[in-house]
Every structure is written in C-alpha cells, then in structure tokens.
Symmetry: C2
Subunit: 361 residues, 2 copies
C-alpha cells in the first residue's frame, strides 16, 4: 500500500512508539500519515472490547483492548483505568522502545504562522534529544535551538544542561481548559503561536496534558502512571495531571529536565463541559491539597531509580493524602501495583522478549 518512492528514514524510527488511546475508528491518522506511517503504533482500545476499531491501511500497529490488558496483567490489571484515556499508560508499559509519543485521536496537524504543516513528532524528538536547563532560566528560551544561545549572565558551568526526560507540546484551537473555564469561556480558542520551547525550572510544578506528549521511556517511563480514573473511580480528567506532578518531582530528584512549548497540534473538539464538571469536581477540590503535597515532597537520597522514587512517593501519598480522601489510599496501592507490573514486563531483555504482543497485526 505504500507509495513506490523511497522515503527518508525519520528520526528514531525504530526507537519510538506512538501510543494512542481510543474508543473509535482512527480516521484521524490519515492526516498524520506523512509523519507517523514509518513509526510503530500502540493502540489502547478503551471501553467495549467487542467493538472493532478500524485503523487506516498502511500503519504498523499493535492493538490492546480490555481483554488483552486483563490477560497480560492478570490481577495487576486493576491498576489500569477503564473508560478513561488514563488507560493509555498501558501502552507505555508494553512498549519496548526507548521513547514514547502519545497523542489523542481528536488532535490534528497544526500549521505554523507561515502556513506550513507542523511535524509535531519531529519537534518532540528534537526537544528530547537536546538538553534542558532546569537550574537557571535562559531569557531567550531554548539555548540549544538554532539562532539562540545562553545570554550574558548565564553561568558557564550550567551550559551543558541536563538530560531531557519529557517534552510537553501545546494545542492550537481548543485550549485544554477545565470544566469551569470551558463553561465561562465556551468560545475561547487558542490562536497564539508562541515560537518557544522552554524548560520548566527545577522545583516548579506545571499542569502536564497528555494530549500531545513525548518522553524518554527508558528514563522516566515507570513514573508515567496515569492513575485510577473513569469507571468505578470518583474522578476523571486528572490522569495526566497526576502523572505530571509525580513525574516532575522525580525528574527534579533525578536531575532530568522537562520541556514545554513547541510543538503545537490542532485540537479539534471541546469535550462536553457538563460531563467534564462531573468528572473533575472532586479533583478541583482535592487539587489544592495535592499541589501543596507535591510542592513539599522530598525524596530521600537512597532513591536512585525511578521505581524506588515512585514507590517512595506512593508511600507518601498514602500517608499524607490518605487523610484527604480514602481514594488516595487506593491510588497509592495502585501505584505500587503499576510498578510491580512494569517490572514484570520490563525487568530483563529475556523476560521482555517473552511478553505477549496483544493482538499485534
């Protein structure tokens, strides 16, 4: 089905998986064909497993539905959310690649101010492969970008930067607002193309959105757990936020950088604000305590792997957030289960090669 012309090999072709959570046919991939078709896709089908998800011809993919998740993880499947895009983190776990790019199925190719289509994945890869600057702010933004550098007054000892673990991309058109803001500003669209990539400084938290996100799975994968959301849970729409706060505390501890800014995707449709409000309202309330918790969280020096950091964080969640609501005790347990499942699937080369491949086609 591929054209006969020889296509150039894209960056990290064999080292990156694209993870897409979905409940519908993936027609949106047509628009991404020039940018995605040489990469491998991991599709995590949410909701009714008996439904067939159509994937446009020519894409190389494996697809997991709930039955696959249950079969592969057994009782540990309880840590993977159902009826919520949080299920996407299952894709991170079963990937064997060094890098992950995850995108929502209502996200399309955006254009830059010159009218050119933006290769979002390529920009994410550039972000991940160049260092970050978490220890000092560079006023001309990313100093590693062509035409930019460190400005006067930037300490030379910090110019090598830190290894980048995460690249958080943004959205034109429908901004990623919470339900109250959606309700108050139903017509607001993001039209501002900000031509910058910057490092979120050490010690600073930010709201990480899972819509357009890339990360170094080998480094930070085990911290990218999207929590317990959706079916049977008291909240939704905090999956990526939760992962972002946990991940940021751990990256700060490990000395890795987190970038935000370019690339943009075109976010096509606003979700229903009334439905969102129902999913979010407890989160909006709990969040006030969560932020204080994560701002104050300190990991002991003894935690030298992401898994150790994450287990320690789970312990602190149980101790300190358990008082906010019993939900966080359940979540803390799920965090531990997630790490156990991650290690089971990823503990060694040998083991990993024996893992089932879902319904890979």
């Amino acid at each position: 089905m591929a054209g006969s012309a020889i296509k150039p090999t894209p960056l990290l072709k064999d080292e990156l998986d694209i993870v897409i959570p979905t409940i519908r046919n993936l027609d949106f991939l047509e628009m991404w064909r020039p940018f995605f078709e040489q990469y491998h896709l991991i599709i995590v089908q949410d909701g009714d497993p008996s439904k067939t998800i159509k994937v446009p011809d020519g894409f190389d993919y494996e697809l997991y539905n709930r039955n696959d998740i249950n079969r592969i993880l057994g009782p540990k499947a309880s840590c993977i959310s159902f009826k919520d895009s949080a299920c996407r983190c299952f894709g991170y776990m079963v990937s064997k690649k060094k890098y992950i790019y995850t995108i929502d199925d209502d996200c399309f190719v955006a254009k830059n101010p010159s009218g050119e289509q933006i290769n979002a994945l390529e920009q994410h890869i550039k972000n991940l492969l160049s260092p970050s600057t978490p220890y000092f702010f560079n006023t001309l933004y990313d100093p590693y970008r062509e035409g930019a550098d460190f400005v006067r007054g930037y300490p030379f000892s910090l110019r090598e930067g830190a290894t980048t673990a995460v690249s958080h991309g943004l959205w034109l058109n429908i901004p990623d607002y919470d339900a109250p803001t959606q309700l108050v500003k139903p017509l607001e669209r993001n039209k501002r193309y900000v031509d910058a990539v910057l490092t979120v400084p050490k010690g600073t938290l930010f709201p990480m959105c899972g819509m357009n996100l890339a990360f170094n799975r080998e480094l930070i994968g085990p911290a990218m757990y999207f929590g317990l959301m959706g079916d049977g849970q008291p909240i939704g729409r905090y999956d990526d936020m939760w992962a972002g706060w946990c991940m940021k505390v751990i990256c700060d501890h490990m000395g890795w950088g987190v970038k935000t800014g370019l690339p943009y995707i075109w976010h096509s449709k606003a979700s229903n604000p009334f439905v969102n409000l129902k999913k979010e309202y407890r989160g909006i309330y709990w969040q006030e305590d969560l932020i204080r918790f994560f701002q104050a969280a300190v990991l002991p020096k003894e935690c030298v792997t992401v898994q150790q950091c994450y287990i320690e964080l789970a312990k602190q969640v149980k101790e300190k957030l358990g008082k906010v609501d019993p939900y966080f005790i359940k979540l803390a347990d799920a965090m531990v289960t997630w790490i156990e499942a991650w290690d089971e699937l990823n503990s060694s080369e040998e083991k990993s090669s024996k893992q089932p491949n879902g319904t890979a086609k």
Copy 2:
C-alpha cells in the same frame, strides 16, 4: 513645539519615569518620540560632566551628571558607579514616581511580525499592572492576557496571582551575549519573535538585562541597586545581573512576581567583545560562586521591608562572598550606603520635596 492635535494620555503618564544612562547626544529618542514624549525622562550622564548632552526638543527631562550626583549624595555618592551604565540606578533613587522604565540609548523601536512598531513601554505597563504566577507554571504562558487563561490542572487558589514587581523585556537583532559568546558567534542575530510573557517561577534565578526593563519602584526600588562597576572597579557588565539576582531573591521572599518576555526592542549595535571580555572575565569566574550563593540565600521572616531584606543580603554577601574576593566586601558596604542614600532621598514626602532636581530643564 508639540503638534496642535490633542494626543490621548498614555498609561501611567504621571506615575512613571523613564531613566536613561548615556554618554552621548540622545538622538535615539527621535524614534521613540510617539511613545515617550508625554512621559518624564531622567537622564543620568555618565563620564565627563563638562560635556553637553543634547536632548531632542519637546522632551520633558531632568539630567544629572557626576557633579550633580556628588553634590546630591555627598560622601554617599561613592555607591554610584562611574564610567559604567550601572550609574543608571541613581535615576531610580531620585525619581519620585511609582514606576520606572529604563532603556539604553542604542535601543530602537522594534517591529512585531505584522510589521507594526512595538510600543514597548505600553507592554511593560500592562505586564506590571497585571498579576504574576510565580507559584505554578501555566503552559499557555500569561493567563491574564486576552485570549488566554489558566489551563486544566491549575489550582484555583493560585489564580489571583501575585503582585508584579518587575517586567523584563527582550531584544531583537543583537542578542545580549557575554564576550565569549560574542567572540564565538559574531554574526548571530536574534530574529525570533516569541509572542509570550511569562513569570519567572519562585526559586528560579535568571539573567536580568538592564537594556529594556521596567519595575514598580515603590515596591522593589531599593533592591534595584546596580552595584560597583566600571571606573576603579575590577568588573563591569554585571551591574544588571547583580541587581537581578538580589531583586529576585527579595521578590521571592516578599511574594512578588517577576515577568520576562514581551516587549522587544531593537538592539542596534554589538559592543566590542574584546573590551567586554576585559570587563567581564572576573565576573564570569565569580559568577559560579554568586549563583550558588543566591540560590541558597534565605531571608529571615523578620525582614518585612525591601530595605531590611537588602541590608540582610548585604550582610550575607560580606560574610559569604567576601571569601571569594575582597571586592565583595566593598560591594556589601556600598549596598548599605545605597540603602542609606535611598532612605535619605525617599524617607518622607516632606524630605523628598526638598531634594534638588539636578539640572532639570
């Protein structure tokens, strides 16, 4: 000489002074006429006081040369640098206005990507009059800007923001590089217009450039001391950096915000990198210790005014940086002298009205 047409009153017309340090005729003001002519200028003449600085007709200004500074401050004039643009901070001290905008005389009006002239001062005023977000990073940048807001996951308790103390603007064309970078990249020009204003997070330091800078003098003025540079001093070109680091530590302590980004000015000429290297080389070396010092600096709760914070910081500079070089002992003393001089000129309405006005015309 003004045109007969009635001009609209610009923002903060009677509450803001424009401070310009210079050694030459101020022809550059012609380009700024539409934006500056209704404001009051404070010109700080550096170098030979017998030289006459020409100011284009129609501007309302007062001018101070070294003789004026010596006359007004007496022995305390020792804290004001000579033969270095650090002398500009004398203008902050003698101003009686709430806000200051300071600009270098080699900075011209820049254009935005649509080709329109940028009213830099107006943008700075907008930045200063709207809150900052130092406690949590908003991925869509300034949430108070038209067409933007706080994104999902931003705690509601933090959406009122913090009072803004400083607005740091950027530069198109010649970037503000140190001498080594100038030498390595003599032809690099900043052509990237990044359409964003953002808050430098609490706990994060940045290199503050004095070329295009505005601040709330009533709030943070006493911390805007540009140090001992130039004539008789071992370093130059660290005046604004020093002020920026001191100011940031104090703003963090006081709970005020510092913004960077828009507006851009057009920086017309690169200074001589060989001369700069001579001025900078000790700073480049000392800076490594300075950054560690400022990153670790903690001000006690008892410091509730900027003056108290600054005196405390001077004490810590003497104790901790005095070991790096005796220069910092002298600088710490000058910091104390600066505060004494500031308080003398600004302690009360009555006193301040008695201050001489230099060679105001």
